[in-house]
């Protein structure tokens, strides 16, 4: 792996390797000193063209736990808002010696542009691009699901996939990079995915995706679900006629108290409720559901740091797993690593 741009082209072995590495990173987070020297002397830039405090601080915490130097570059209040191009920004970061760029961008494909051009020679991690992908979110979701699934099976997480797990993802699929990344990654890991949404919030072409599509949340639950993931829905979508009112949306596609009770009635005692955050309580998810013991919302946040540590570690320490203590800790070593990867991979 040279970059982490999408889950669509992530192989099963790379996906499992990231998840397994994240398990090791999670152990670090439970120590008193939550820090590894692995990326000492390496520079990670958080390049955010879109506000996202939670994703940015998650990446920042991950990089700092690996001892990397972190530069936060927010588009607002910087030269970007004065009309500087992505190309110039990238070349500027390159000149400053960035080893990895974590990019969040409102435009789908912006991370691909950074990776495919010669504007910058750094590892690129997609931290969410437009309505395209958000691979680290899908990985942390899969990590959360895998822990749950393995615990139920009484087997260790490491090395496991999600074969046989039934995952329903409900909400604004059309505008969701989280849904896209989850569909591809869950397919790769062997889970069975059902997308649930009003027809207006499903993309034309969704019928070709490796999943089932339903317009009916209750029917989907009745068929049995092991993980129920709710997607954030913007209330303003009703102004563009994607649905009539937020109340109607909530009644038909929201995870409300009735549906929370229905899980018990259906005998789905081990079903977890997931949400990538930030939540619209009372719209796509009720407070009772968000705060119930089934909810993994906070575990997802915690696991996000582990996944991002794993991604940074694997991209910046080279393709071959090395013992963390021996991984490139000097600038000199890092320069070697970089040049070894100089030819761009196509994605």
């Amino acid at each position: 792996m040279r970059h982490l741009l999408s889950t669509e082209d992530l192989s099963l072995s790379d996906a499992v390797r990231i998840l397994d590495t994240a398990e090791e990173m999670a152990a670090v987070g439970e120590r008193e000193v939550k820090k590894l020297p692995t990326l000492r002397g390496r520079t990670v830039v958080n390049l955010f063209f879109e506000d996202s405090t939670r994703t940015r601080i998650s990446f920042e915490a991950a990089a700092k736990r690996l001892s990397a130097d972190v530069i936060n570059f927010a588009a607002k209040g910087s030269s970007v808002s004065k009309g500087e191009s992505l190309k110039d920004t990238a070349q500027t970061l390159s000149a400053m010696g960035a080893d990895a760029v974590v990019i969040r961008h409102w435009a789908s494909g912006a991370p691909h542009r950074l990776a495919a051009t010669d504007w910058i020679d750094a590892a690129v991690i997609n931290a969410g691009d437009g309505t395209h992908e958000h691979p680290t979110q899908a990985l942390l979701d899969a990590f959360t699901m895998r822990r749950h699934w393995s615990k139920l099976a009484g087997t260790p997480s490491a090395g496991a996939d999600l074969t046989g797990m039934r995952v329903a993802i409900a909400g604004d699929v059309l505008h969701s990079r989280v849904a896209r990344s989850n569909v591809w990654l869950l397919r790769t890991l062997g889970a069975e995915v059902t997308l649930v949404a009003p027809p207006t919030l499903l993309p034309i072409g969704v019928e070709k995706w490796p999943c089932t599509v339903s317009y009916d949340l209750d029917e989907t639950l009745a068929k049995g679900v092991d993980a129920m993931m709710m997607l954030r829905v913007q209330g303003e979508r009703m102004n563009a006629s994607f649905f009539p009112t937020t109340r109607e949306y909530s009644r038909r596609w929201g995870f409300d108290d009735n549906r929370l009770r229905a899980l018990d009635g259906l005998g789905l005692k081990d079903t977890i409720i997931m949400h990538p955050g930030p939540m619209n309580r009372g719209l796509e998810i009720s407070s009772a559901a968000a705060d119930s013991p089934r909810s993994t919302v906070l575990a997802q946040v915690r696991n996000g740091v582990s996944i991002r540590m794993a991604a940074l570690y694997l991209l910046l320490s080279g393709d071959t797993r090395e013992p963390a203590a021996h991984a490139g800790t000097t600038r000199f070593h890092s320069a070697e690593n970089t040049s070894a990867h100089a030819p761009k991979e196509s994605h």
Binding site: S108, H112, I204, V206, W209
Partner: protein, 466 residues
């Protein structure tokens, strides 16, 4: 091909052994701006041939000079993207002898003054006949008709009107425009794009856009406007031209309209005959264009429609952009591709080498039919004695690799960069003057401003020298 140095004394050219429209080899004698003679072994009979520059054309195909119904020359206003001079150099190198310059310049070509300026720039350049297209509405704003009559009566003699880049979406305004241009045998060339269905659209809506998370440009946004417009054209008995048809559904609607006798013509671009939306997976904005690249099923339908005459012409929609408008995020990038210097090769690759068309058909769709739509009387003519000498010589066996940095257009945004294409323009004669020789730019034709008539139809002006 071997050509001697241009003989400054006579301005006569003997093209020896060219396959005319791909047929049997014949000679063409070009003199005084016209084809003076056509036949076998013209050199043998002697008359008038003696001082002609001989062009050995064995293996070459002779075609009527190509006419582009859809070109963006960007001047006035965006001389950083293209000028009339650079754009028409590209046109000549691409085998063209006439181009229709679209109206979306700055200022918009919506008055007699602007279209006459573009006409003058074209004549000053002298590489091809530049025929300005007039805007349908003032400032392309879609609110009020521009002075179509004034543009028609101007020295630019405008016959094609278009808000291209923007759809004349108001049905009443479209109806009035179609009706009004009947007064001077004009045609409205519609950019068919329902604006509400394409707000923020980035690429074809379908399987690929679903994966890429790019806002879709649905086929129905094009097809619904075409369906409306052919019915309007029928209702008011007017002439309609549909720009850059891009979908299989549009083809069906146009085929249906033609079967009902609607006076509609349609155009397809070279890129829509070949490329598909799969290319957007790269997120490289060189593949961003409006209308967008569609699916392979659409490509096949467009090829079949061009072959069977449902689509009348190939128009390049040559749209040069400065590099900074393409070296960016997809959503930020400008829409459009260059096309003048690759059109012939792409049509040869997609239509001729596939066996769908011959060179005579090629002449129809790239010269005869577009000249007829634009009412250009001295273009798209047969290659016969007495006809204006607008002639393109093509080497169909040549192969070349597209390198945008070597093109005459200022635009570097060719979607064919790096591809090997068949067919090369060897020479272009514009009004009997070689603007291109040996595949390289020669010298422009020099108009005599005093004697050239408004329509440029008589070819009385003398060809100039370098």
């Amino acid at each position: 091909m071997a050509s001697q140095q241009q003989d400054a004394g006579t301005g006569a050219y003997l093209i020896r052994g060219a396959a005319i429209l791909g047929g049997a080899p014949e000679d063409l004698l070009i003199r005084d701006g016209i084809i003076a003679a056509r036949g076998q072994n013209l050199s043998a009979d002697g008359s008038g041939v003696r001082n002609a520059t001989v062009i050995e054309a064995a293996g070459l195909v002779a075609l009527p000079g190509m006419v582009d119904i859809h070109t963006h020359l960007r001047e006035p206003g965006r001389e950083d993207a293209e000028t009339v001079e650079t754009g028409t150099r590209a046109a000549a190198l691409g085998g063209y002898t006439a181009v229709h310059a679209m109206a979306n310049s700055t200022p918009v070509a919506d008055t007699a003054g602007v279209v006459e300026q573009v006409l003058t720039l074209g004549r000053t350049a002298g590489w091809v006949d530049v025929r300005p297209v007039g805007a349908v509405t003032v400032g392309l704003a879609g609110e009020q008709l521009a002075e179509l009559g004034a543009m028609a009566d101007s020295r630019a003699h405008v016959r094609v009107f278009s808000d291209d880049g923007i759809c004349v979406h108001d049905p009443v305004l479209m109806r009035r425009a179609l009706e009004y241009v009947k007064a001077f045998d004009g045609v409205v060339a519609q950019h068919a794009q329902e604006p509400r269905l394409t707000a923020g659209a980035q690429m074809n809506e379908g399987e690929v856009s679903a994966v890429l998370g790019l806002t879709g440009w649905p086929a129905v946004a094009e097809e619904s406007i075409i369906a409306r417009d052919v019915l309007l054209a029928q209702h008011v008995g007017s002439r309609l031209h549909v720009c850059h048809v891009s979908t299989a559904g549009s083809v069906e609607i146009i085929r249906w309209a033609k079967s009902r006798g609607v006076n509609v013509t349609a155009e397809v671009t070279p890129h829509h005959l070949w490329l598909t939306d799969e290319l957007a997976r790269s997120y490289d904005p060189v593949y961003k264009v409006n209308p967008p690249l569609r699916t392979d099923a659409d490509v096949q339908a467009l090829r079949a429609a061009l072959a069977d005459g449902t689509i009348d012409v190939v128009g390049t929609d040559h749209a040069p952009h400065p590099s900074e408008h393409k070296e960016c995020e997809w959503a930020q990038a400008a829409m459009g591709m260059t096309g003048l210097e690759t059109a012939l090769s792409v049509v040869q690759h997609t239509m001729i080498e596939t066996g769908l068309m011959g060179w005579a058909d090629f002449a129809r769709v790239t010269s005869t039919a577009p000249a007829a739509i634009g009412r250009l009387e001295d273009q798209g003519r047969p290659l016969d004695a007495g006809e204006p000498a607008n002639v393109t010589l093509v080497d169909p066996a040549a192969r070349w690799t597209v390198d945008p940095s070597k093109m005459a257009t200022m635009g570097r945004n060719s979607p064919f960069a790096g591809r090997e294409l068949p067919g090369k323009v060897v020479a272009t004669f514009f009004k009997g003057h070689p603007t291109v020789l040996d595949g390289k730019l020669n010298t422009p034709y020099r108009w005599l401003p005093e004697t050239s008539d408004p329509a440029g139809n008589t070819g009385t002006a003398a060809a100039g020298r370098s």
